[in-house]
Structures are given as structure tokens and as C-alpha cells.
């Protein structure tokens, strides 16, 4: 089966690629673009470790056919930092030990990003809700809540 051409923007960079029509967005990101910050956990939309932002909304990239990326804007964990300067959410995760093994972290941070983009001052309950689609098997949720909360404060301070 022939490959198909799609055009999209990923982390601010415009891309034009030929892809296999049956591959997922996750495979496109990890295998074709070598952006391996996005992780594959369950592969069926339960765990959230493959979370990326497409068209301003979080999606489980393992459930999105890559063909759907056509004409879309995609943001992955690699697109958050500016050069060597980490994004305030990343800073906060480092500062507050919001990770143990780190496998869920990219997804957690993308969900946190989407949350904070819409709600600059989330309550603890709203943070819980915001990352309810992301599993952490090191059970580090308390530290993750702290990190997101701290990031929200830091981001407000900047503005």
C-alpha cells in the first residue's frame, strides 16, 4: 500500500511527510520524527503516557491515526522548552520531584499544560480532574499535584 503525504506543524516546525496510512500519530512522533519524549504505555487509551496536544486539545496519540495530523498543529513535550530553558511546568516537576521513574511524566506535563492554558489558578480538585487521564504507577500523585500547583503560581508570577 502506498504512502500518503501529509502536512502539519509540530512544535512550531512545519513538516511535510510521506507516511503509512495505518500508522498512529504516536508512531509518527516517535519512529518517524524520533521525538521519543512521548511514551507508549498501554497503547489503548487508558494510561495517558502518549498524551500530546493536537489542535489545542489533549489526545492519546496512540489512538489517533497519523493521517489525522494533516493540517494540524501538534505540540509534544519537546516543544515546551525554549532552547535550554525549561518550561515553568517542567521546572516545577524538577523542583518538586513530580516524577519517580518518569515514564508518565511527558503525558502528565502535556495534560498539565492543557489544564493551565485554560485555567491559570486551578484548585486541587481541578488539578486532579486535569490529570485524571494520566496514570502514574509509582503512585507519585501527591508530588505531581504539588508540581502543577507550583507551576501555576510560577506562570502567574511571570505574567
Amino acid at each position: 500500500m502506498e504512502k500518503k503525504k501529509i502536512r502539519f506543524t509540530i512544535n512550531g516546525k512545519r513538516c511535510e511527510m510521506e507516511i503509512k496510512p495505518w500508522q498512529t500519530l504516536l508512531e509518527l512522533i516517535r519512529e518517524d520524527l524520533k521525538l521519543t519524549g512521548t511514551k507508549e504505555g498501554c497503547g489503548e487509551g487508558e494510561c495517558g503516557s502518549c498524551t500530546v496536544i493536537m489542535g489545542g486539545r489533549t489526545v492519546n496519540s496512540c489512538l489517533v491515526p497519523a493521517m489525522e495530523a494533516d493540517k494540524q498543529e501538534i505540540l509534544t513535550i519537546e516543544g515546551l522548552s525554549k532552547g535550554d530553558k525549561l518550561h515553568p511546568i517542567q521546572e516545577a516537576f524538577v523542583e518538586h520531584s513530580g516524577m519517580q521513574c518518569g515514564f508518565c511524566t511527558s503525558g502528565m506535563i502535556m495534560s498539565a499544560k492543557a489544564l493551565l492554558d485554560e485555567n491559570t489558578d486551578p484548585s486541587r480538585e481541578e488539578i486532579r480532574e486535569g490529570i485524571s487521564g494520566n496514570l502514574c504507577r509509582c503512585t507519585g500523585y501527591a508530588k505531581i499535584f504539588e508540581s502543577i500547583s507550583a507551576a501555576a503560581h510560577a506562570m502567574k508570577g511571570e505574567k
Binding site: Q23, G43, G45, L63, S132
Partner: protein, 297 residues
């Protein structure tokens, strides 16, 4: 044993731009050639796991313009396009205000990532017994506008679910719109989902109760049950018992018991049939009390 493959099998992808194009494709359908999807949150995992035989071509319905509306009119009621995401329904202020039961049910589905992609139309077309939107749709008397090359027709939600995973849709037909009649202003409703995790979990039991109480009498009531029968069902005997009755604890307890007897749950890894039946009683009672109390506040 389910073999879990992490990759989709080879297949092509199409994104038609109109319903007519989709219907043309489906009309020439040989078995298994096409699979249509909207959000893909059920279809893609099923294809990956090979529980659904892989189609030759995956048809993405999201290319169809103007089918993601959530429109309300005071006289007409609510219309939801087949491509409206679960999130857009759950967060729609008009749905929150006029059909809070639908908003609650939609909001209880999976996770934000899934709600961003999934659709209510897909949730019912997937037709699992535990579909969270189904009990709410049953109590709201939703009408499903379906379209095929032969024309349009309406299937009422009560006739839609046939068996686990099977609906009244013909193979060449698609669901285009879900219509909800306007509600009486005094009508109150609630969806109660029982699941071990509050998010990202399937309902062990889902109960929707919608009713109107006037002068201490139950004017009308509808009860929808999810995950306790091969398909989402209405507790019609319990409803009949309540209709026109004066409200007291006795009648509420009797109705809750009746609803439990009407359910036909199974034992599985989530819960035993016995537990599910007991929980139907508890949740129907809780739901009834909730809509009654709300009405007297």
C-alpha cells in the same frame, strides 16, 4: 486470550468531506471493506486488538463539515450532531442548564483525552452495555436521526440497542444526529455511576433517573439502567409503579426493588450479578430521592 498487538494492521485511510460521499462508499460496501469512525477511541483499540476484523479502508467521518453542533431551541429541544465531541456536550452551558443529566453522563466518560475525541453518537453506536451516555439518553427519550442512500429515518433510543455491540443501524446507514425533546421546566434528572475509580473507569452500574413531581405526586418518571443487562434498559415496571403515585418512602423503596428485579446483570471481573442487582436498588432509590428533594428545595 486476547492477543494485544500494538500496531494497526495495514489499511488505507479516507476522509470524505460530505455525508453523501460516505453513503456512496458504504453503499458499494462488500463485507468488511470499510469501517467508519468518528473519535476512534473505541474503534482503534478494537482494531489493534483484532477483536474487530481490520477493514481495508478506515473512513474518518471528521472530514464532514458542520456535523459537530450542539444546538438548543426552547420549543424544539436539543440537537447534537454526530461529530460533536463528548467534551463539547459535557461542557456546553446550555446542556448543563437544560439537560444536566446528559452533561453529567458525558462528563463521567473516560478521561479528558478521550472526551476530546470521542462522540456521544459513537458511544451509543459502540453499544456496550455500560456506555455512560446510554441510560441518560434512554430517560431523555432521545431520537436518533439515521441516514442511508434510501433516505432518512428516526430510530427511538428504546429500539436502538439490540445486543452487546449491536444496534438497529443497517450496515449502510450512519447516525447523523441525536435529538432530545424539550423538557418540562420542573423536570429533574440525575445520572449516578458506580465505579471503583471516579475517572477512567467503566460503570459497574449506571443509573439515570429523570422525573417531574407536582404537588407531591409523581407526574412522570423514567429510569435508565446501564451495565446490568445485555443492553442499556429502561426499568419500565418501576416507572409504572411510580407514575401518578403520591411520594412516600414506601413507594420509592418498592420502585427501587422493582428496578433491581428488572435488571439482568451478569457476573464478571468488575462485580457479581448479585452485587450489581443490589446496587441497582440502592442507586435507583438514591436517584429518586435526589430528584424529589431537588424539586422541593
Amino acid at each position: 486470550m486476547v492477543v494485544f498487538y500494538r500496531r494497526m494492521p495495514k489499511m488505507d485511510y479516507m476522509r470524505p468531506e460530505s455525508i453523501e460521499e460516505v453513503l456512496d462508499l458504504l453503499a458499494e460496501e462488500e463485507t468488511g471493506r470499510y469501517k467508519i469512525y468518528a473519535g476512534g477511541t473505541d474503534v482503534i483499540p478494537k482494531i489493534k486488538k483484532r477483536v474487530m476484523s481490520p477493514p481495508q479502508i478506515l473512513i474518518d467521518l471528521k472530514g464532514i463539515k458542520g456535523l459537530d453542533y450542539v444546538d438548543y431551541d426552547k420549543k424544539e429541544g436539543l440537537r447534537i450532531g454526530a461529530l460533536a465531541s463528548v467534551r463539547s456536550v459535557a461542557e456546553s452551558w446550555i446542556v448543563k442548564e437544560k439537560y444536566p443529566i446528559l452533561s453529567q453522563a458525558s462528563d463521567s466518560i473516560a478521561s479528558i483525552q478521550v472526551r476530546n475525541r470521542a462522540t456521544i453518537a459513537g458511544n451509543i453506536c459502540n453499544a456496550v452495555p455500560s456506555a455512560d451516555s446510554a441510560p441518560a439518553l434512554l430517560t431523555l427519550d432521545a431520537e436518533l436521526k439515521c441516514v442511508s442512500k434510501r433516505g432518512e429515518r428516526t430510530i427511538v433510543i428504546n429500539d436502538f440497542f439490540k445486543a452487546p455491540g449491536a444496534t438497529g443501524l443497517e450496515p449502510h446507514e450512519i447516525l447523523k444526529e441525536i435529538y432530545f425533546p424539550a423538557l418540562n421546566e420542573n423536570t429533574k434528572g440525575i445520572y449516578i455511576k458506580l465505579s471503583p475509580r471516579s475517572r477512567m473507569d467503566l460503570a459497574v452500574v449506571g443509573v439515570a433517573v429523570l422525573g417531574t413531581v407536582e404537588n407531591g405526586l409523581i407526574k412522570s418518571v423514567r429510569i435508565g439502567l446501564g451495565a446490568v443487562a445485555p443492553v442499556p434498559i429502561r426499568a419500565l415496571n418501576a416507572e409504572a409503579l411510580l407514575a401518578g403515585s403520591k411520594i412516600d418512602d414506601q413507594i420509592i423503596n418498592d420502585a427501587a426493588k422493582t428496578a433491581a428485579l428488572e435488571s439482568k446483570p451478569i457476573d464478571d471481573h468488575r462485580a457479581s450479578a448479585e452485587y450489581r442487582r443490589m446496587m441497582v436498588e440502592v442507586l435507583v432509590r438514591r436517584g429518586l430521592k435526589n430528584i424529589i428533594t431537588n424539586q422541593f428545595l
